[in-house]
């Protein structure tokens, strides 16, 4: 090897052990992330397991057109957007407010105990969370049923049968689970506030509340914007698990979202499953997600000079 002529190759050869470290992670990411991306071409094919991905016939955009023209298109996109937007509106401001409030409390012990308690629900699994909801809000055996019975003398209506209640329950149980955990990042950002600003503001006669608005909030604004970009960029991706577990035939009209629909079309009924169609829906969703995050990031960069990249 002509080492003098290739300083770059030379340096790479010197770092060979480092590349060796990367070997397994890179192979992993290619196989388990990029191969499925390639596999998504079955969205444009009439995939048959017997012919394989490469051997199946091309059908162009037929699956996409089929999806756009179906009633499920409107319904799934609507539900996904409503759940997402509702979650952002209900769940985004609370961790910020909580962090600002807890930060202005000076009793360290009280602060620590409350912070520990409110982060606990973050560790409840989705399965258990839905199980808790179903038990507490059961209209005959749960706490909800018992209270309703005590008040009115009869069992209250079944909450899991109502599409609109599904949304409230989905969103607010999520808020309950995540606001404490979500506030950690803001508490961390708040610890970077220079106490001198507070002292100066205090000398100028600012109240604690005014100092929150004029000292604390501006400091954590970049963090808030980053979190908002991530959240809004993700608006079209609502996780599969919780919606699927809470889903039943009675609330289906509100609880079917893109991810659960993809599953039910593609993988649920192995006899009649349409893998290509499901992939097309998923791919459409992923592309929208990608566009969303890029656009939101651009806008945020222009408006506030804070962006992800």
């Amino acid at each position: 090897m002509n080492k003098k002529k290739h300083p770059m190759l030379n340096r790479m050869w010197r770092d060979k052990q480092l590349y060796l470290f990367l070997l397994v992670p890179v192979i992993y990411i290619i196989i388990f992330r990029y191969v499925p991306m390639g596999g998504a071409v079955i969205a444009f094919k009439d995939y048959k397991a017997r012919d394989g991905i490469l051997g199946s016939d091309w059908i162009g955009f037929k699956n996409f057109i089929k999806f756009f023209n179906s009633y499920d298109f409107y319904r799934n996109i609507r539900n996904t957007l409503i759940l997402s937007a509702y979650t952002i509106i209900a769940g985004f401001p609370l961790p910020i407010c909580f962090a600002l409030i807890i930060n202005s409390i000076r009793n360290e012990k009280f602060k620590k105990v409350t912070q520990t308690i409110v982060t606990l629900p973050h560790f409840i699994s989705t399965t258990v969370m839905v199980g808790i909801l179903m038990n507490i809000f059961a209209n005959r055996t749960g706490l909800y049923g018992a209270i309703g019975y005590a008040l009115t003398g009869e069992y209250p209506p079944d909450l899991f049968a109502s599409p609109s209640v599904f949304r409230h329950m989905y969103v607010w149980s999520g808020v309950w689970q995540s606001f404490g955990w979500g506030s950690i990042i803001y508490t961390a950002a708040l610890s970077a506030v220079d106490p001198q600003y507070h002292e100066a503001a205090q000398i100028d006669g600012a109240t604690r509340f005014q100092r929150i608005i004029h000292v604390d909030l501006p400091t954590i604004l970049p963090t808030i914007i980053i979190m908002l970009i991530l959240r809004v960029g993700d608006i079209m991706s609502v996780g599969f698990e919780k919606a699927y577990l809470m889903q039943n035939t009675l609330n289906y009209d509100a609880s079917t979202i893109i991810s659960t629909y993809v599953y039910s079309v593609g993988l649920a009924s192995s006899g009649r499953s349409d893998l290509s169609y499901a992939t097309a829906i998923d791919l459409f969703n992923s592309v929208i997600n990608l566009i969303m995050i890029i656009v939101v990031n651009k806008i945020a960069g222009k408006v506030s000079e804070t962006s992800l990249w």
Partner: protein, 302 residues
């Protein structure tokens, strides 16, 4: 720092501030109770009799104390299979995750590595875009991983987000000077990793291990998608069957148990919620600082 100075100076607190603090405490207490109450209720319910539960007598303390629910769990074989498998997946999975994550983060933390940004992009792009559920399923199936433990360990072997956090940590905490001086002493990159990087990264390894472990403990989706053999099911799948789908297997063959099934079923559910979540809840307060630390490192742009 802040509390010290304000305590030393004793600035007079006006009525506006006083009422503001009062509001702060009130809101915090209300939020804490809102979080705590359902948890306490479930614990109380798991120790109460079914009839007390049905008649709404249980509020915060157990009524007609009983451990029937927990006894039912002891007899319930599925729960033990689930527990055993979940512990196995959590331990092996976390070990594998941490190894791969550190091996990936270490070279990418080296600023002089050629192609670093391109390799970085290869990883970060997967956070923005993916092939989706069905192609992943086909992949796992064609690798013959379906219905094997590998389906639970390999497809999620590394989280790119965690890798970036680890990389940020290594970049910020292991100065280039150490590398240079050890290089002069003839230390290879591999030696440097084991003798310097790993010992100095204990904090981030703890963070990664905890994050991954919680993920494995609570994971449901991969098992749901890839496993159909009951012997391999993690706890979460059994929990779904019992808590949500109301499927109690007939393994509970004890004739007495079958007779009392209806009432036991309800208590069993509450007890199961407690038993499956208790390990994380009791563990968390002791390792809280690592979780917080991880979030803080993650919030810094690397």
């Amino acid at each position: 720092m802040k509390t010290k100075t304000s305590a030393a100076k004793k600035p007079r607190i006006g009525w506006r501030d006083k009422s503001f603090y009062a509001i702060c405490y009130t809101i915090t207490i209300i939020l804490t109770i809102t979080v705590l109450y359902p948890i306490l209720y479930i614990i109380a319910a798991s120790f109460s009799s079914a009839s007390a539960l049905m008649s709404g007598k249980v509020w915060i303390f157990p009524v007609e104390f009983t451990t029937v629910g927990y006894e039912a769990i002891l007899k319930y074989k599925d729960v033990w299979i689930g527990y055993r498998n979940t512990i196995f997946y959590t331990v092996t999975g976390t070990f594998l995750n941490v190894c791969i994550t550190m091996c990936c983060a270490y070279p990418l933390a080296r600023k002089t590595l050629i192609g670093r940004s391109k390799i970085m992009f290869l990883f970060t792009f997967t956070m923005l875009f993916g092939g989706g559920m069905v192609p992943s399923y086909i992949l796992v199936r064609s690798l013959h991983m379906k219905d094997t433990i590998w389906a639970m360990l390999i497809p999620g072997a590394m989280s790119v987000y965690n890798m970036i956090v680890a990389r940020t940590f290594i970049q910020n905490n292991i100065p280039d000077e150490i590398l240079e001086s050890t290089k002069i002493d003839g230390c290879s990159d591999t030696n440097f990793f084991f003798s310097m990087v790993l010992p100095l990264s204990k904090a981030i390894i703890a963070v990664l291990a905890l994050w991954y472990a919680v993920g494995h403990w609570n994971a449901y989706f991969n098992a749901f998608l890839y496993l159909s053999d009951k012997e391999l099911y993690p706890l979460q799948i059994f929990l779904r069957d019992i808590l949500i789908n109301n499927q109690l297997s007939s393994d509970m063959d004890d004739p007495e148990a079958v007779a009392q099934r209806r009432t036991i079923q309800m208590l069993l559910k509450y007890s199961l919620i407690v038993v499956s979540t208790a390990p994380l809840f009791t563990f968390y307060p002791f390792v809280q600082k690592y979780f917080v630390k991880g979030v803080m490192i993650g919030s810094v742009k690397g």
